[in-house]
């Protein structure tokens, strides 16, 4: 029994915690205001006026749509690959103990533990050595590699909570391996996989460091934004795209949180 229930925090701690959270959130909220500014050339604050015209202008920009379409396709395919590989790996690691099990976990986590630039340049030089030209698939190759860990983390956490006796019971009752997988294992891990898939999608949709090395001339949304940040062409359009990106990544994260909040962790560590 905790005796501190109802006891309130010292005022200094409250202020520091609130200040810290504001520091984390205010900058993102600022993006929303800038998406409506009438100012074109500079980042002047406060905005001289508010307008919604930039949304229409952004809507009619083919380069934004192309980047968005490429990003969505890459994220979808990478997530699909990561779901298969991550689930297989998690099932193998959590079900059985075998020689080299720790090495496998390390192998899965490594692409995200090492700085992205190392993964990026390693892939790029490997493509150069193997004379593989840049294409849609070179981007997918990179993204799927670091998305595996997100699915893996979610699936491993769920497998640990799923009791092995259910699988044995299913087998005892005469279900074969495939039926057990379909009717017992899959319903148990489905929400964890969904959450992992959403986080993998968000991760891939947002990735820029590895992508700069594997995309060649193609533009995903983050690469498009990076270009705009380095050589600004039309700042209001960038503002609108930034706001849309915040909203698009927000939804899968919230969904993933609600799917896994009963006890097990979302793979929050090591983006």
């Amino acid at each position: 029994m905790r005796s501190d229930r109802g006891q309130s925090a010292p005022i200094g701690l409250k202020l520091a915690a609130t200040g810290g959270l504001l520091f984390l959130h205010l900058p993102i909220l600022l993006i929303f205001v800038y998406a409506f500014t009438t100012e074109e050339k500079s980042f002047v604050w406060p905005p001289p006026g508010l307008t919604t015209q930039w949304f229409a202008i952004t809507w009619n920009r083919p380069d934004v749509w192309q980047a968005l379409s490429l990003s969505v396709r890459v994220a979808a395919i990478s997530t699909a690959i990561a779901l298969v590989l991550g689930t297989l790996c998690a099932a193998a690691v959590s079900r059985t103990k075998f020689f080299g099990r720790e090495t496998i976990s390390l192998l899965v986590i490594l692409p995200i533990a090492l700085p992205g630039i190392i993964t990026g340049i390693a892939l790029r030089s490997a493509f150069a050595l193997a004379e593989i030209p840049f294409s849609f698939w070179t981007i997918v190759l990179g993204h799927a590699t670091f998305c595996v860990v997100v699915v893996y983390n979610n699936a491993v956490a769920r497998f640990r909570r799923t009791s092995g006796s259910m699988i044995e019971a299913s087998m005892d009752l005469g279900a074969d391996g495939f039926q057990t997988f379909r009717h017992v294992v899959l319903p148990n891990i489905a929400t964890a996989l969904l959450a992992g898939g959403m986080l993998a999608f968000a991760l891939s949709f947002d990735e820029v460091i590895v992508t700069t090395f594997t995309a060649g001339q193609q533009q995903t949304v983050p690469i498009w934004m990076l270009e705009e940040l380095i050589r600004p062409r039309q700042r209001p359009v960038t503002n609108v795209v930034a706001m849309v990106v915040v909203l698009v990544t927000l939804l899968p994260i919230l969904a993933a949180y609600y799917l896994t909040r009963d006890g097990d962790q979302i793979a929050g560590s090591g983006k």
Partner: protein, 322 residues
């Protein structure tokens, strides 16, 4: 109740017949030889990660032992340590020192800002507030990296909100005084090392909060009370009770803040001075300079630093806090 619910199912046999055919045979095979199933499950992910990732890493490492012909610009594929010799030039050592210093400062600042948030969330937040705190850290963690940097470009710009705010508070002289300092100053915050530092702290802060919170969750509240019952001031309680217990979490978080700062090349490129960081050096060596061997040798630096860091962190028990 449960009996009623089970009744309609009673008409189907409890034991399903074997499905036979190829499917049945496969299923039986996997049941009798679990090793085979394990192998089949592991093969795709291990092949993918082994070939795509480890293969590329290995190729990169290999290339750091090649050298570049300074006249033709072609890569000479003979084993040599010349590239590592180039790495030790004063200009490159400068880059490494600057990056490591920045990483250390960013780690320290993140720990200072993260602690109150983590402590409040772990000890005082309950129920809905706890969920709110959790989401309050998760959302910035997962929201777009580039958008976060962009937001700071808006904030730190000369005509931006920070200057406006300081002008309202009649504190512009303070900003000007800070910007006129050597090293940390510059024309405006968005082209100064101070700006780079702020953005680094902002972007990596959630990675520090989560492990520190996890470590603090495990500290029983009565430990803190016992300490104050025994006459310790809040400061003494923090120094002698809370901080030592939170340390593994802080070290675990510092792995992320340190490693991510070491490898980043986008933040200092967009917000900061023209002085290079390791990531930028790698990027320019492989891109414009076309010197893949030197770029590869440069990537070995963060790998080695992180190797030592992880070794030290493991000794401090940081991995239990992850």
């Amino acid at each position: 109740m449960s009996l009623d619910a089970a009744m309609p199912r009673a008409t189907t046999p409890a034991i399903l017949p074997g499905s036979g055919g190829l499917r049945g045979a496969l299923s039986d095979l996997f049941w009798r030889r679990p090793q085979l199933l394990l192998l089949l499950m592991l093969l795709p992910p291990v092949l993918w990660l082994g070939i795509v990732y480890i293969g590329s890493l290995f190729a990169l490492l290999l290339q750091s032992f090649f050298s570049i012909d300074e006249f033709s610009g072609l890569i000479n594929r003979e084993f040599t340590l010349k590239t590592y010799g180039d790495l030790l030039q004063a200009a490159n050592l400068d880059i490494i020192l600057r990056t490591v210093t920045m990483a250390a400062l960013v780690t320290f600042a993140s720990a200072v800002i993260a602690f109150p948030i983590a402590y409040y969330a772990a000890r005082y937040a309950r129920g809905r507030w706890k969920a709110l705190f959790y989401l309050g850290v998760m959302l910035p963690l997962w929201s777009s990296y580039l958008v976060k940097i962009y937001a700071w470009k808006l904030i730190l710009a000369k005509e931006g909100i920070l200057t406006w705010l300081l002008a309202k508070l009649h504190l512009l002289w303070l900003l000007d005084a800070w910007l006129s300092l050597p090293i940390v100053g510059g024309n405006s915050l968005s082209v100064s090392s101070t700006g780079t530092f702020i953005v680094f702290v902002y972007v990596w802060l959630p990675f520090m909060i989560l492990p520190v919170q996890a470590a603090l969750e495990r500290v029983p509240g009565n430990l803190v009370e016992a300490s104050s019952d025994l006459g310790a001031s809040p400061g003494q309680t923090f120094r002698n009770v809370l901080f030592p217990l939170a340390l593994p979490g802080i070290v675990a978080g510092s792995i992320f803040t340190f490693s991510l700062t070491l490898g980043d090349y986008i933040i200092p490129q967009i917000i900061g001075t023209s002085r290079l960081f390791i990531g930028q050096a790698v990027y320019s060596q492989q891109g414009t300079a076309g010197n893949i061997p030197l770029a590869a040798a440069f990537t070995v630096v963060p790998i080695v630093i992180m190797g030592f860091y992880l070794w030290g962190a493991k000794r401090m028990g940081a991995f239990d806090a992850l």
